[in-house]
Subunit: 239 residues, 4 copies
């Protein structure tokens, strides 16, 4: 997929697609490349871009509040998610975390309980061009635990995360990481308690407050707008 | 490189290396794989692990305070750094950011002014197993700007970042991202001013406060230890 | 002044006043006391309350964004403002800080440059019942510095605070405190530089982030609403 | 009580006391006043100061971690504590909150369960010169609730605060405030639940993060030292 950009407008299309807007009709060549400039039949120009992670937030269909870039990033930073990682994920939702991880070369198996949400997530993986790297399974991870193992990374964004955490030592390779996202203190506490009970190491729950800085004519200051809480991130590692 | 782990001790070694400790001598086979269990001549067992991003903090030689996992992660999250990205970096330092980006499949060209620091960074890239993906150049990026272009991502951790930012439109592809790390308000402000002047879009400076949660017998609370400021992150995008 | 409260409605009135609403007419007796219950001619009851600091935010006429309860409180906490203190204040504005300080027994002299704002502030002091303790002067404190001295506390919320800070050693008694409120980093920095130059001690600038906690059915978490920056508070003490 | 200050050294003494240090002997006159300069028999000068709230932290004997100036201040700011208030307090501890409130003209009745702590608190009230305004009672407030009423402010820093909160409507006047300090989420939640159940209004729990700013030669930034969590403050108001 490529992005067609004209001023503040952008469209996600596949090579060979047609774009119809009030700026005219544009046929996307099969051999289109980022950096190309394409013209509509009315002579309007579109720049071709490779879509990046943050672009996904504009083009994914949402089935709930997607995980924010900061939280996706913190998971990557604190677990060292990297190319070649085998990732087990639950609570696919919109699929932003799965897509980000796939874009950096990980192989992701992700469980979504709601069949309609799972369908949307599959379409989103197509849009992100990572369908080959993300296996969206419709179902409940807690019922499939016996058949899964050998993952480098276990990422959970579900209310019943502690049930899965209890099995993390069987799911993860030695040195593999667990990352659990939860908006709530109690749920994070339960995750920590379980992680400690099953012998995971380096268990920690982090809370992140992020603010924008305003640089104006009168001076510099943190934004008066405020940035609210998203979720706690609990990390742990398999021995 | 692989990690040899015994209890709380771990050693980074290449296949074919020898490990000598008080637990005995261990020859690392050429075909060693993560998950293997190796024995020293005294019968002590070591588990073999693939090193991950956070392990680099334990094994890299430091030439200054390395960028923290959270800041590395935020750069990934907010720029969508991914496999195949061409990254231009300045202020290599210990090389943590370069190594993380290379581990997720990016091709990194990084500039370090101090020749000794650059040598250490090259050794660190060897340790991380990413020498093929990271080109550590000894020198000042501001003097090489005319010969560089076509990058997807420009990451700067230097006091003269604004000078480079002024050239970002020539260095970055359309849709490419800039990320500047600075501990200071004034320097971040100068970066923002420059980014706006040269027409970058989506310019924002973010400050991140991260705290650990304590879950104890008496209840849950944010840590009384406190987590200090690391740096502001300024992001911007090339039109 | 007393508050007349009926359900979610409240009115600030003086003894002897008349209250006319759709609930009927109510004559406030001259000897009214907090805790009394008064009836309108239609038989509707109003409870009589003594107004407290937070009530002032509902009843003061505003001439700009008033200082928030948290910042007023931090000034009290960090300077130990107390009964009998002589306070010199500049940038009266709505007058919330002056009224709070007067309510805890301080004698406040406050300067407001804008004559209309000063008039409103005087009316607000009447509403708060502290006119005897607050002298609202129309004018620029920087032009009156030669005639002032012997204050226990100097509180400034003006852009030219550093000019006044430069004279703080002459204005304050030994051990007296300075508190400067400023939204901006640069202005706070200038205040700190000046405070150090003129030999004040215990110079520090504090930034405060305050968040509400949400306790809901699904669990506890910091509010997703976020609370923005108000201002930096710089404190210093006269030797 | 007055403070005798010489350089970085300070001593709290009553009029008529004698001060003996290596700087010589000094007799404090009965009619000593802040601003006086006294000499020891060796001719060393001491400046006389009226002690202020923050000085109490240096001179109080501690029976645990005292409440910090910021939290004391926030209680004042959010409840409008003022001269003439009748305050009911539990968990006296070192007595900093009681002393601050008394210094701004409130009448405080405070309960401390530990008899030795209560004795220390009484001595601290003497040091602060507020013994007439603070009644330190040895005992458990939860056992005395039937005999108490008519308070403007109820301040609690005890693990069983919710038990007292359940009776707040009987303890407080109409419009009176409750302020509960607790380090823990669970305890704060229980306080909130109870406050709502008994019909208090404006129930909110606030968390405060305070950081110092560093203004150095290289620029301005929040301190790298970090400031940890102290406690949650829950406020509510009696209808």
């Amino acid at each position: 997929m490529i992005l067609l950009v004209h001023g503040g407008r952008e469209y996600l299309r596949a090579p060979g697609d047609e774009l119809q807007t009030d700026l005219g009709v544009l046929d996307v060549p099969e051999d289109v490349s980022p950096g190309d400039v394409l013209e509509t039949h009315l002579g309007e120009e579109f720049v071709v871009r490779a879509p990046r992670g943050p672009d996904l937030f504009n083009h994914f269909e949402r089935t709930g509040a997607p995980m924010m870039p900061r939280d996706v990033g913190l998971i990557v930073g604190h677990t060292g998610a990297a190319a070649g990682d085998r990732v087990l994920d639950a609570g696919t939702g919109t699929g932003v975390l799965s897509a980000y991880l796939a874009r950096l070369g990980a192989e992701v198996t992700t469980f979504e309980r709601d069949p309609e949400f799972a369908d949307v997530a599959r379409e989103n993986m197509d849009l992100a061009g990572v369908s080959d790297n993300v296996d969206v399974r419709t179902g409940d991870l807690t019922e499939e635990l016996d058949d899964l193992s050998g993952f480098d990374l276990l990422t959970l964004d579900t209310g019943d995360a502690p049930e899965v955490v209890a099995r993390a030592p069987d799911l993860l390779v030695s040195g593999g990481f667990l990352a659990v996202y939860s908006p709530f203190v109690e749920n994070s506490h339960e995750t920590v308690r379980t992680a400690r009970e099953v012998g995971l190491s380096d268990v920690e729950t982090l809370e992140t407050i992020q603010r924008e800085m305003d640089f104006g004519d009168r001076g510099s200051r943190p934004s008066t707008a405020g940035v609210g809480h998203t979720g706690y991130l609990t990390f742990a590692r398999n021995e």
